[in-house]
Symmetry: C2
Subunit: 207 residues, 2 copies
């Protein structure tokens, strides 16, 4: 199975590397980072640079695509090199997936009309602009389109995807290999559980 | 606060990028990827390359170090460029931390004699060779040394660290910013909860 993760300037690192690590440890999977042109792409903190080893033209027909989000997402909503690739690659995929604001790019590619989908809580309402039906869940499956909530949700999404695309035992094996037995020290990872006033502080970090 | 993440060939991507993302979103923190020489460093799946923007010589006195693990850890246990840097940098740090088999490198640097510490479940017994007291917990704090269990545990570790080094509300804000409300689709992320026989399958993926 060949998964491609498209990169663009100011993506969020964990959006891409969470699912990457899950899928790259799965037996028989290869994962390629691609960009408009092969070469370095820097994240939205300005301090992490990943190498895209392929151009979009090099990988026209992947089995799976995983579109990350990031502070740069809104800047590339009309970038035809990226959005056009997503639209055309989707015709060939078994699964088209996103993490965080990456689902806005699936929407920009015209893939979400009438589809249930999710994204980071900060832009959930914005997702409806593409015709999607926004759902506040961790992972949302709509046919072959699988979308995840913000940043860290890509790990849960990739394990869900692996259970579907391979089998549950493979997904469980990878989960144990990466010791994914999360024990966050606080329960503030969701708007539903975060203390009063925290959303404003969190928004200040990501806008 | 300046955190440095040392890279070496065949590190595990999520070990480094989980804590990176947590710390890089924290206000007032900068995070630098370093290596023996500045330049590209490739992970243990052979398909992710991160740019080290500094050499170890460029960053002799960080406030925090986060040492990732990976399938390449055992190959660099006697690499003085890396292990010597960890040993010397530790003299200056406020916090010296590791993820996964990265704690074996803290041990190789002589930092764990008599210290409670943890690592990936697959090498937990091995950790005692450095004089450490292996503990099967998600995050282990021993003075200024903070070690995490395998791969994904670095996210929990970094949030714990942030609560100590900054304050709990800052850690909670970052947790909400990265929507870290984990909902793994299975409960197989720990030896304590994984189904019978899964450890062998997981080991086959990481050895």
């Amino acid at each position: 199975m060949h998964a491609v993760i498209p990169l663009y300037p100011r993506f969020t690192a964990l959006d891409a590397v969470g699912p990457y690590t899950v899928l790259a440890f799965a037996p028989g999977w290869t994962v390629t980072f691609a960009a408009a042109q092969a070469g370095p792409v820097t994240d939205d903190r300005g301090s992490l640079t990943l190498a895209a080893t392929a151009s979009f033209a090099d990988v026209p027909a992947p089995d799976v695509i995983v579109v990350p989000g990031g502070l740069g997402t809104l800047d590339v909503m009309e970038d035809e090199a990226l959005v056009g690739w997503i639209r055309r690659a989707h015709e060939h995929t078994r699964w088209t997936t996103s993490v965080c604001s990456g689902s806005l790019l699936l929407g920009a590619a015209g893939l979400l009309a009438g589809a249930k989908a999710t994204t980071h809580w900060a832009v959930l309402d914005f997702l409806a602009n593409s015709g999607a039906v926004p759902v506040s869940e961790r992972v949302v499956e709509h046919g072959k389109i699988v979308t995840a909530a913000g940043v860290s949700a890509g790990i849960d999404m990739a394990l869900t995807l692996l259970a579907r695309a391979a089998d549950p035992v493979t997904a469980q094996s990878v989960q144990l290999a990466i010791e994914y037995d999360p024990q966050p020290p606080f329960t503030s990872g969701s708007l539903k559980t975060a203390p009063e006033g925290l959303a404003e502080r969190a928004l200040a970090l990501i806008t």
